[in-house]
């Protein structure tokens, strides 16, 4: 249930962030900052929960912050989503936030496939619920 709640919160806030990027005329980065913060809080709340579960499942964490799981681990469907968090945090967001205007930031966000995390989360959690591995 906690996974469901946190995943839903993370997906919804990421969707709001993506929608905010799609809304023209906003001052950059002011009003978007709160959307960014909320999406990050929700994303990390989910991600740290997954970290605990991966750890319990016998996973290993490397120096880049990426998990490897045993082949039969039931949490495998969300592994990609969790591991994508670092790329989003370390590469996508810094590049987007370094752009001088909202238009440039929006273009950069989609160019770097910033939506991939939300899609990976949604697909991963749905796959987990469906018993896929």
């Amino acid at each position: 249930m906690v996974l469901h709640e946190r995943a839903t919160a993370a997906i919804e806030s990421l969707n709001e962030l993506i929608a905010a990027f799609d809304q023209p005329g906003w001052e950059w980065p002011g009003p978007l900052a709160l959307d960014l913060l909320r999406s990050q809080i929700d994303l990390f709340a989910l991600s740290v929960l997954l970290d605990h579960w991966f750890d319990d499942a016998g996973g290993t964490l490397d120096g880049a912050g990426l998990w490897t799981l045993p082949p039969d681990a039931p949490l495998a469907p969300v592994l990609g989503a969790r591991n994508a968090v670092i790329h989003f945090e370390a590469v996508v967001l810094p590049a987007v936030l370094s752009e001088p205007t909202l238009d440039a930031a929006r273009a950069r966000f989609f160019e770097l496939d910033g939506c991939a995390i939300a899609e990976a989360l949604a697909t991963g959690i749905a796959g987990l619920a469906g018993g896929e591995s």
Partner: protein, 216 residues
Amino acid sequence: MSRRLSLALLGVLLAGAALTACGDGAEPLGERGPGASVVSLDGEETTTTTTLGETTTTLVAESCHAPQPPPPDWGADLVAAHTKTVDVLASAGVLEAAIGAVSDFSAGWPEQAPAGAALYWFQAKLYDLMDHLEAMFGDAGATFVAPAGWIFGGDQTLEPLAAPWEAVLFEFQVVRLPALLTAGSAEEAQALLDAGALCEFVDGFSDALDRIAAEG
């Protein structure tokens, strides 16, 4: 895009019943697990748990400073804010050391070892603190109005923490940290760290907690 996400979200919602079997014993962000860290209040060492049962000792960045120990009359929420601030301080030290150990600053370096894991835990700790403070402000009757920031009513106790919270929101996460993570050389990254890219913001929380303690 939105249709795919909507369908996927529907899948998540449908997943609820199956996921209840997993229980709801999850702990708040940052309380245990890999990367959980503590820092001594009277020294500069931090012990970081990298995986369960394994620990490493790392020096906290010299330029950061920890808050004074919490007064005995503080409530649980303020003590938790203190603990989470110390966690952020410790993870900032780990991140600073990790960036100092990066040898290749070509594109994508922040997601490679050794910076990747350190960045992840620094951000996890920072967002945990931000979330906790936001909840505390709300419980105290404060309201957030952009771009003015937090407005406190009768109880001003937590007001000193508003400025560092807003600095993270409006400057650190959107300006200073992206600049650090897009640095193209060790010299550039070190110059940003020396200018307080990480510690300046953590120090803001430490100073605010000390002020709250002093004002009783």
